[in-house]
């Protein structure tokens, strides 16, 4: 069994959920319009992934394998709704920023993907580390995508105007096709980096 450090680092680069495992595409494309959205989505997804991995790892022997998917989905959906309510009540402005992304987390393939592929077979400690690795990897990927799309789409990063007034923003990046194309090229770039690193 790989060491703890390996378990954590694999989520960041080698098995990055967005660029390598190609999971969680829907929120990635829909949300990465700006860097702050990407960050917000990543953080809330990380939190839910952490909680659900812990609970699923804890219950892994009790849930019969035939009904495991409905059971996991129930647990994930509960956490998402709780996060939604608590944020809405106690930190309204944060909730307003993340508002629409939180229901999206329920259908984020990463969480069920990790629960099905990992949390089901490993103990709680490993599941926590895996959740942290995957969650941070996802947040990183989303924020980078958000920065790129915001930089060229609106000429700003995290809302601060960077490109000056002469810059003509590429409107397409804010739309659906822009998201697809940006992520496609990013995947190509990541593959290129992986091939380059391995050969050197």
């Amino acid at each position: 069994m790989s060491t703890i450090a390996q378990e954590f680092s694999k989520g960041l680069l080698k098995e990055n959920p967005t660029f390598r495992l190609l999971l969680g595409m829907c929120p990635t494309l829909a949300v990465s319009i700006s860097a702050i959205n990407g960050l917000g989505m990543g953080v809330s997804a990380l939190f839910v992934l952490l909680c659900s991995n812990i609970v699923i790892a804890a219950l892994r022997n009790l849930i019969p394998s035939k009904v495991r998917i409905p059971a996991y989905i129930l647990i994930i959906a509960t956490f998402v709704t709780i996060v939604d309510m608590v944020l809405n009540a106690f930190t309204p402005d944060l909730h307003k920023a993340l508002g629409i992304f939180i229901p999206l987390i329920v259908v984020n393939c990463i969480i069920l993907g990790r629960a099905e592929a990992f949390a089901r077979k490993n103990n709680i400690v490993r599941s926590i580390i895996d959740a942290l690795g995957m969650g941070i990897g996802f947040t990183l990927a989303l924020t980078i995508l958000g920065i790129i799309r915001e930089l060229f789409g609106k000429g700003s990063i995290f809302g601060f105007g960077v490109m000056g007034t002469a810059f003509e923003p590429m409107g397409i990046l804010a739309t659906a096709p822009g998201a697809f194309i940006t992520l496609g090229i990013m995947l190509g770039f990541v593959n290129f980096m992986f091939k380059r690193l391995r050969i050197e």
């Binding site: 035939k66 009904v67 409905p70 129930l74």
Partner: protein, 270 residues
């Protein structure tokens, strides 16, 4: 009231679906031996077909039913075979010979001439459809990388000289590349053999080979005469060296005018 309603509704839905799933699980039960899944997890999962079955799942089913030999999985080698035997509770009969792929052609762009310039689909099989390939030599490697693309273990990379190079550590000898190569340039050999090897695949007579390539084997039998252990034999104008008899003395290399006989032992690629 709110608590009770939520409790009952979600619980009720859970019960209904639990029951429904239980009923369908029974009614549509597929008799499946649990061992199939465990064995399937043990296999490398490359679906390479070296065992003769379409995909690892089929092999796992057949081996559990006893219709397949335990050591069929070539890429898995001894390790996988032992695990399978353990699961099936059978005594392991694994053969320790590790297999490897070898490219029998060193006809790079500058020594092997082209009949015409080919700009079609970058795939050897596609290139073969155009008059049997753009290379003058009918048996040489076309260098378009079908084998590189198809290797399930990423063990085949295109060398700088335009010919594929085998990564000894990664290659499991599954033979997918050998089957894919339209020219039959790749052969599966024992990885641990020593001595010399004739890196050519041309069965043309001497005159035709000379026109097609500067290093092709012309079947002059000089190596056969030079070899003290009769390890070399020439069949339809091509020399083959039997690694069991060859003691690596190197006499054939000196005798060979075409500089086509190389060392069998490969230095690891990466």
């Amino acid at each position: 009231m709110d608590f009770v309603a939520a409790f009952v509704i979600i619980g009720g839905l859970g019960l209904i679906f639990g029951g429904l799933l239980a009923y369908t699980a029974q009614r549509f039960a597929v008799e499946e031996d649990a061992r199939v899944e465990t064995i399937c997890d043990l296999l490398p999962g490359a679906n390479c077909g070296a065992c003769g079955f379409p995909g690892c799942i089929n092999f796992a089913e057949k081996v559990v039913k006893g219709e397949a030999a335990v050591d069929c999985c070539v890429p898995g080698g001894k390790g996988v075979c032992d695990n399978i035997c353990e699961v099936l509770g059978v005594e392991s009969v694994a053969s320790e010979i590790k297999k490897m792929a070898e490219v029998y052609c060193i006809g790079t762009k500058d020594v092997a001439y082209d009949k015409f310039v080919y700009h079609g689909v970058p795939d050897c099989k596609a290139a073969m459809m155009y008059g049997g390939g753009f290379k003058a030599c009918k048996y040489g490697c076309l260098g378009l990388g079908t084998c590189v693309g198809i290797c399930p273990f990423d063990a085949m990379h295109m060398g700088a000289n335009g010919l594929p190079q085998v990564d000894v550590e990664r290659c499991t000898g599954c033979g997918v590349c050998a089957k894919a190569c339209p020219r039959g340039v790749i052969r599966i050999v024992n990885a641990d053999r020593t001595g010399k090897v004739v890196l050519c695949n041309s069965k043309d007579r001497g005159k035709a080979t000379r026109q097609a390539c500067e290093v092709g084997c012309i079947g002059c039998k000089a190596c056969v005469k030079a070899c003290p252990n009769e390890a070399v034999v020439v069949e339809d104008n091509l020399a083959y060296i039997d690694s069991t008899k060859c003691d690596d003395c190197g006499k054939c290399v000196e005798a060979c005018t075409r500089d086509i006989i190389k060392n069998a032992v490969k230095i690891a690629l990466s």
